[in-house]
């Protein structure tokens, strides 16, 4: 890798490690200092490397510079070093001997603990996702703004408030106790699930951004499976779900970035390795008779979608999984998907009766579903719903798909 690409690459992989280790050492109230030292390390790297060329081992070089900068900071800033020294139980004079441990083990541990600190129930979900992208994934502010389809200022504000909250609540950077871990893990998994969905379902047309969000969510979930304390059934179920879903990533958009619907996708483009990976984590999730939670049910549904076999039995299974999912927790998207499964397992007529009770008139997917259910039964009603869906749709990708459906139905092109 050449230098111009190497630094952004290293920034993505190493910034988060340095930040996590330093933040763990300094305490959450000094999160910005940890971030500043990490950023400063990369600034020094780009300056030095452009003059002297690449060091032999760039990562080791970065760690060494980060350590020195941290030690210098501790020495220079008397107030800070007194506070920190108290916390890390060393005297200010000993700042130089403070061990800044950038070993692989401590990096992993610190990142895991940071994950629990950031995904604290006291932080709003949206801010958690933003913070996770910044601190755990090393995304730049611009990249986060881009992913959320908003501007830099909004993201800065959101991150600032979240960090204030971390400080105000004095949230500890540690793994929760064994008794608490299941409850705290719920928030962590919700954040990772949101992060993944942000990539998988967002209106964003840039598939590179979306793929990266999904990959980051999977990497963090992977991290949880690698630690004994957090390698729990729900974590494995979520990773199975993510694996099955992302197996279709290459098949779901064409070269123009337009959505290709599931039934039209080329199965040869589905990633078999990811499907196998999903099966592996699914097995792990169902091990030791753990209860079936939301992620188990969603992973099982996603598993049925890894094959296009179209039998009543398959759809009956999917319907029953959606029944259990909805009985556990309502969501409009699950309600709509369940109704589609009802049509496939039973009949379109039965599904229409239930669909019309859903009270989701403002949702474009609701009208898209009714358009689908009515086609072949009452094409006029179907076209009416597709037109409503078209008017409500938020993204160009959705509108393109709906226009195609409408023209197939009415036999002519609609503007």
């Amino acid at each position: 890798m050449q230098q111009p690409e190497l630094i952004p690459h290293l920034f993505r992989t190493e910034y988060r490690k340095i930040t996590a280790v330093l933040c763990k050492l300094f305490g959450i109230e000094h999160i910005e200092i940890a971030e500043d030292i990490a950023s400063d390390t990369f600034l020094t790297a780009s300056e030095t490397w452009s003059i002297k060329g690449l060091p032999e081992n760039p990562v080791a070089w970065l760690y060494m510079v980060a350590k020195n900068k941290a030690k210098n900071y501790l020495k220079r800033d008397a107030l800070f070093s007194q506070k920190i020294a108290q916390q890390i139980k060393a005297s200010a004079e000993q700042a130089e001997t403070i061990e800044i441990d950038l070993s692989a083990q401590n990096i992993t541990d610190s990142q895991l603990q940071m994950m629990f600190a950031i995904c604290h129930p006291g932080i709003p979900a949206e801010a958690q996702v933003g913070l996770a992208l910044r601190i755990l994934c090393g995304f730049g502010i611009n990249e986060i703004a881009d992913a959320f389809l908003t501007n830099k200022e909004a993201i800065n504000k959101r991150l600032f408030r979240a960090k204030e909250k971390l400080r105000a609540d004095n949230i500890a950077i540690e793994l929760p106790s064994a008794a608490e871990i299941n409850k705290r893990l719920e928030t962590v998994l919700t954040t990772l699930y949101l992060l993944f969905n942000e990539g998988y379902y967002s209106a964003h047309t840039n598939t590179t951004v979306r793929k990266e969000l999904c990959a980051e969510a999977m990497r963090l979930t992977h991290l949880l499976t690698e630690n004994e304390a957090t390698n729990l059934p729900a974590v494995n179920a979520l990773l199975a779900l993510m694996s099955f879903q992302s197996s279709r990533f290459e098949a779901r958009t064409n070269e123009q970035g337009e959505t290709i619907l599931y039934e039209d996708q080329d199965e040869n483009l589905w990633d078999k390795d990811l499907i196998d990976q999903g099966k592996y984590f699914m097995d792990a999730a169902f091990d030791n008779n753990a209860g079936l939670g939301k992620y188990h049910l969603e992973a099982a549904i996603a598993f049925f979608h890894t094959s296009k076999t179209d039998t009543k039995e398959k759809w009956e299974n999917i319907l029953q999984l959606y029944n259990r999912l909805l009985v556990t927790e309502y969501s409009p998207i699950a309600a709509l998907n369940r109704t589609y499964a009802l049509a496939k397992a039973r009949s379109k007529e039965e599904a229409i009766t239930e669909a019309e009770k859903l009270d989701l008139e403002d949702n474009h997917l609701y009208h898209a579903l009714l358009g689908e259910l009515y086609s072949g039964i009452d094409n006029l009603a179907a076209a009416g719903h597709l037109k409503k869906a078209l008017a409500l749709a938020q993204s160009d990708a959705d509108r393109t798909v709906l226009r195609k459906k409408l023209s197939l139905l009415t036999g002519n092109d609609t503007p």
Partner: protein
């Protein structure tokens, strides 16, 4: 939206035990019915099924087995449903699988304290 308790009553099944397939089919019917309600975001709590065996405690520490001496039907289970009115709740109850086996659904609005 108000909360309504649905109480499912049916005559205890004294006939031959159901086969696994029959039990599976009955389970699916209940899950379809609950799924229909949950899809409308009107299921507050799926509730529980109840074992047929029970005891009744009466004044003077009188304890008898089961409530069946006084009512022919026993309570098989309960759920909590969200609805705008008693009438809407009754409309929802029309699809309940307990009706197909000759049972009934009693609907009571919760009087929240």
């Amino acid at each position: 939206m108000k909360d309504f308790l649905f109480i499912y009553r049916a005559e205890p099944n004294n006939g031959p035990a159901a086969s696994p397939e029959e039990m599976q089919a009955s389970m699916s019917k209940w899950m379809d019915w609950l799924g229909n309600i949950a899809a409308q975001n009107k299921l507050a709590d799926r509730g529980n099924r109840l074992h047929p065996a029970g005891k009744v405690v009466k004044p003077n520490n009188m304890i008898t087995d089961g409530p069946y001496t006084e009512i022919k039907e026993s309570i098989g289970g309960y759920s909590l449903i969200k609805a705008a009115s008693l009438d809407e709740a009754a409309e929802i109850a029309k699809g309940c699988p307990v009706l197909a086996v000759g049972g009934n659904v009693e609907i009571r609005e919760l009087n929240l304290m």
